[in-house]
Subunit: 317 residues, 2 copies
């Protein structure tokens, strides 16, 4: 088997003679396609100090499932958080916030490999009609949809999105579906063109204090600074960026203008599948390239170029 390994010296391609086996409680999955996201690039820079196999956006097929042999051959995507099942968060159904949680490709070996293991309950069947190239977007689409779980956005809302990279593009599409008045602050011409082709407005960086909701998907501290400038009094800033290090907030403005800042992370994969079964979210335009796992290092180099959207890894080859 082959896999990408993040060690003290950075990312490298490794080979092992034997394929792994499914455990008592885990299901063995052959990975078909996996996606490289901003968090993977941050992991390689040292974010979280993770050592292991990265990768948490994937579609695969079940190879071995002791609890339910009927599932063998099933095409699946995966919920990436594994909770302890015992704590208060897990009992409330919030395993994404279990203090003991394991997270695929972030705290435990992930999807940039021929094989991965996950508990059966984390593996969600993919409809037959949905291609691998579409199903591999379930995880980031879930993250984009999750914004709507925590913030009310409707046709009356004036919304600005800062950052139109790989996650930002999906967020833009999800926000656009709500019917809100949306504009996007984008940096690269590839981002602007794709948004324009979907009828999404670009601009409005100068309308200070005008927006009910500002979504920061820049991955930079400067995103929060701009968000604070664009949000209206009593408005909401949603932070979707993950990056290493602190950011400065003007607390006095936060209090005087009674602004709300909301952190937002993983969403429901089942919800994402439902939305992706429809045709309203365009994923195909986001696929920049597909590299075989064997060329994983080159794939990471490509993914780290400015303005590049989704780089996929074909993990069967």
């Amino acid at each position: 088997m082959r896999y990408l390994w993040l060690g003290a010296g950075g990312l490298s391609l490794k080979r092992a003679r034997d394929a792994p086996q499914g455990g008592e409680s885990e299901v063995l999955v052959r990975v078909r396609l996996a996606g490289i996201c901003g968090t993977d690039l941050e992991l390689v820079k040292g974010y979280y100090g993770f050592r292991g196999v990265p990768g948490h956006e994937f579609v695969g097929e079940i190879l071995e499932c002791r609890q339910d042999p009927d599932r063998v051959g099933q095409r699946v995507v995966g919920e990436i958080n594994l909770g302890c099942g015992e704590c208060e968060a897990c009992r409330k159904g919030l395993k994404t916030h279990c203090p003991q949680r394991d997270v695929l490709g972030i705290t435990r070996d992930g999807a940039f490999s021929n094989y991965l293991g996950l508990p059966a309950e984390n593996l969600i069947p993919v409809p037959h009609e949905m291609s691998d190239r579409r199903a591999v977007f379930c995880e980031p689409v879930a993250a984009a949809l999750h914004i709507l779980d925590d913030v009310k956005i409707d046709q009356a809302s004036r919304v600005v999105l800062i950052g139109a990279g790989r996650l930002g593009q999906l967020i833009a599409q999800v926000l656009h579906l709500t019917g809100c008045s949306l504009s996007v602050v984008a940096r690269h011409s590839s981002q602007v063109e794709l948004l324009a082709s979907q009828g999404i407005r670009v601009g409005d960086e100068d309308e200070a204090g005008a927006f009910d909701v500002v979504v920061d998907a820049t991955g930079h501290p400067s995103g929060l600074e701009l968000a604070c400038r664009l949000v209206r009094p009593r408005g909401t800033i949603v932070v979707k960026s993950t990056f290493h290090g602190p950011a400065e907030v003007n607390l006095s403005q936060l209090v005087v203008d009674e602004i709300r800042i909301v952190g937002s992370r993983c969403g429901s994969m089942r919800h994402a599948i439902l939305v992706l079964e429809g045709s309203r979210i365009d994923t195909e335009s986001l696929v920049d390239s597909v590299f075989p796992l064997e060329q994983g290092i080159e794939a990471f180099q490509r993914a780290s170029q400015p303005g590049v959207f989704k780089v996929l890894l074909d993990c069967r080859i």
Copy 2:
């Protein structure tokens, strides 16, 4: 007439020969008692660059009211925000967020004077039974109550308050009334003793990630840092501090733990009067001292001492 004047050289006591007159649209109020709060101390340090008469917590009596002469002699407290009445915020009843607003004692001449002027609609009658010493607490009690407008807190909530100064003590009492499980992080022995006498628990600075709601009333950037440590995943931090300068936020924790940060400022004076008509909020224990306006400079010195609660100015003398 006498008043405290904040100029380039700091705070000074001034005298003028004539009393002011009420304008066409404003009512002339003789100030009886006024309170010094943390914002006043920050103003004197240069926060907002205000030059004029500070003071926004007061109780007074109407001297002259052209629109409604029947109100002459009425004892009143005042809503401190004056909106333009035309903009979107004002039309929504949010004059506290009018971009053109004037704020008593913060952007326009305030209460540390024998006289002040406010529009009739900003002046709210004080019930006969309520003493001046109690009515003067309406503004900070409104600010404390306003937390409950924006964050759901009930008997099921685990809440910690950081900071137990003059505003913090009122917030502690308001939170205690909700029946929530409350503890307070307090620094000075006077603060701890007063809380203990009201049956409010002090401590819990070490219970990281344990609280549904954390209220920061410290007035220091370190308050937000501790708040981030104490809040649970998907919990809420309410920032009640106003101070000059930026604070650092760990954006990665904000996103991963999906924390919500809410800025909170002024509340409803009418609501505060209703609550102060009851006996559940103890204001008398918070009165440190009453200085005549003539000794306003000494009053400010007293108010800036650590562990000192409310210093009042008797503005009639």
